[in-house]
């Protein structure tokens, strides 16, 4: 009986982790005890940003999200790699403009909800020009001193 040799794959030990990692962060949010960066000085970048390539800062204009603790002049940390969920605070494109609102899904319909009673809730009509630009993961505010 002849044995058929099937091509053998030799693992390439000179490469690190050649797996595609395409949706979540390469490193988890928490440092493991083995990581040497526990000994480094604290860095706000590491705290705020999980996906550097996909993270942007935007400046808030107006008070439509005050009840969520987002005020005029704040900087928002926006991560485009995250999937927006019901309740996420998102930056969205509405009629060509960037807006920050809470995303809400009710009875199969999608809404952009302000966090200020003075502003109306927008229902996203299917024909309307709408896009999620990114998910807000943090807010940065400096006080005048």
């Amino acid at each position: 009986m002849t044995a058929k040799v099937i091509q053998l794959f030799n693992p390439d030990a000179t490469r690190q982790l050649a797996r595609p990692l395409f949706s979540s962060a390469v490193q988890a949010g928490f440092p493991s005890p083995a990581d040497d960066y526990l000994e480094r000085e604290l860095d706000l970048n590491e705290y705020c940003i999980e996906h550097p390539a996909a993270t942007y800062y935007v400046r808030v204009s107006g008070d439509s999200m005050e009840k969520a603790g987002i005020y005029h002049g704040d900087i928002l940390v926006v991560d485009r790699s995250l999937e927006a969920r019901d309740g996420s605070i998102v930056v969205a494109v509405l009629d060509g403009e960037l807006t920050v609102k809470r995303l809400s899904r009710r009875n199969g319909a999608l809404y952009l909800v302000p966090e200020n009673d003075a502003y109306p809730v927008f229902e996203i009509q299917p024909e309307r020009e709408f896009l999620i630009w990114g998910v807000v993961t943090g807010v940065v505010r400096k006080f005048a001193v």
């Binding site: 050649a18 595609p20 395409f22 390469v26 942007y56 808030v60 960037l98 807006t99």
Partner: protein, 418 residues
């Protein structure tokens, strides 16, 4: 040896696309980007191309068309483009550790070993993720050599049906694609060779593929022979030989081993700056914008990840390597951090200006003069000494009247959300 798989990822209308990410009202609108002194068109969106605006067209000649078609006009924002380029490359690096940055908006990915995932579907995933993370649309061509990947990429971009991705690793589609590719559109075939090949009855890439290697070698030297090999699936083309300047010159390599010390990274960077300077001079160009970038290994499970860029607009366009080095080193020092294991660094030269063929100015003398003037202005206050009637020297004036904000690199210029 397993078959090579190269994927060329190329951003669509890169500069225009960068402008659209932070200004979504521009989506679908025709856009042109002007050179640093607002003199001529250096980039266009597809809609502007369709409106008949030519690459390199002087702005004053395009004004009427721009007004009629309501074309959005921007002065070049190299800082933004460099920043977005790094983000695109960072994103590509999550798909394979072997990303070879070829220019500001193109990279070759080594996808050997990823066939089990389906190359076409993997590439579509790459395209979707890049679009999601950076807002930049890309086209992807996949083939067994870089020259073939370029051909695939071009077709992926042009063909509606392809939807931005074309996999030519399969033999039967490859020859069809080569038959549809004009010889002048093959990477490395300039107009002179294209004319000669036409005279030999070689009109398409397929014709060249089937041509006699000896005949090609005799008339097109070893470079032509390499192109011939590449079209036949034998990968042998070093990138340096075929990089056109287009909008920028990029030199970037992975280090043979991780580097941790600043001096070691600096040494590597200096090599890249020297190569970039050589390319500049070979193409009779000078650069006025310089970006340095630095990366650790994205895939390491042991070492933390860090990547960064720093950019500078030079006081005047230059092709003089010592000057490029003098600007590049402080940029590196600004982004280098101790304690990281660096895998790759690079330099990008943008805002390229043509050196006049009949220019009789002595560039070295001019530089010394500039330095003396700078010193006087430093000591006695800016603008103490000015040039009267500089005329058409673009290096001295920057209008940049319609430059978009530096959305990703200036706290005062962040995108606004309501």
């Amino acid at each position: 040896m397993p078959d090579a798989v190269f994927a060329l990822v190329d951003c669509n209308n890169f500069y225009a696309s960068c402008e659209r990410v932070f200004n979504p009202a521009l989506e679908g609108r025709p856009i042109v980007i002007l050179s640093n002194n607002d003199g001529c068109v250096i980039a266009r969106s597809n809609e502007a191309k369709a409106a008949g605006i030519a690459m390199g067209e002087p702005f004053h000649m395009a004004k009427e068309k721009i007004r009629q078609r309501r074309i959005a006009v921007f002065s070049s924002n190299y800082t933004l483009y460099g920043s977005m380029s790094r983000r695109v490359m960072d994103t590509l690096e999550t798909f394979t550790p072997e990303v070879e940055i070829y220019s500001i908006d193109e990279a070759f990915l080594n996808l050997a070993g990823f066939e089990y995932r389906g190359l076409d579907s993997y590439a579509r995933e790459i395209r979707a993720i890049v679009r999601q993370w950076t807002g930049i649309p890309v086209s992807i061509g996949i083939a067994r050599t870089k020259t073939l990947a370029k051909i695939a990429n071009r077709l992926a971009k042009k063909s509606e049906r392809a939807g931005g991705v074309l996999d030519l690793t399969e033999r039967r589609y490859l020859d069809m694609a080569l038959a549809r590719t004009e010889i002048g559109d093959v990477w490395g075939i300039g107009s002179r060779w294209a004319a000669w090949l036409h005279s030999q009855g070689i009109r398409t890439a397929l014709d060249l593929k089937h041509a006699s290697p000896r005949h090609i070698r005799k008339h097109m030297s070893v470079i032509g022979e390499r192109i011939h090999h590449e079209l036949n699936g034998i990968s042998c083309l070093p990138l340096e030989l075929v990089q056109p300047a287009r909008q920028g010159i990029t030199v970037s390599r992975s280090f043979g081993q991780y580097l941790t010390e600043l001096d070691a990274v600096k040494e590597a960077l200096l090599h890249f700056v020297m190569r970039a300077g050589e390319k500049l001079r070979r193409q009779r160009l000078m650069a006025r914008h310089l970006t340095v970038f630095l990366w650790t290994n994205r895939f390491s499970s042991v070492h933390p990840y860090y990547s960064n860029t720093a950019a500078a607009t030079l006081p005047y366009a230059t092709d003089y390597t010592p000057e490029l080095i003098a600007h590049a080193v402080p940029l590196l020092e600004r982004i280098y951090r101790p304690g990281y294991h660096y895998k790759k660094c690079g330099v990008m030269l943008m805002d390229l200006q043509r050196l006049d063929l009949f220019d009789t100015r002595d560039p070295h003398k001019q530089r010394r003069l500039m330095k003396a003037l700078d010193a006087i202005n430093d000591d006695y206050g800016a603008r103490t000494v000015l040039f009267a009637g500089m005329g058409t020297n673009p290096a001295w004036t920057t209008k940049a009247e319609q430059r978009s904000p530096r959305y990703t690199s200036n706290w005062q210029e962040l995108p606004k959300v309501k």
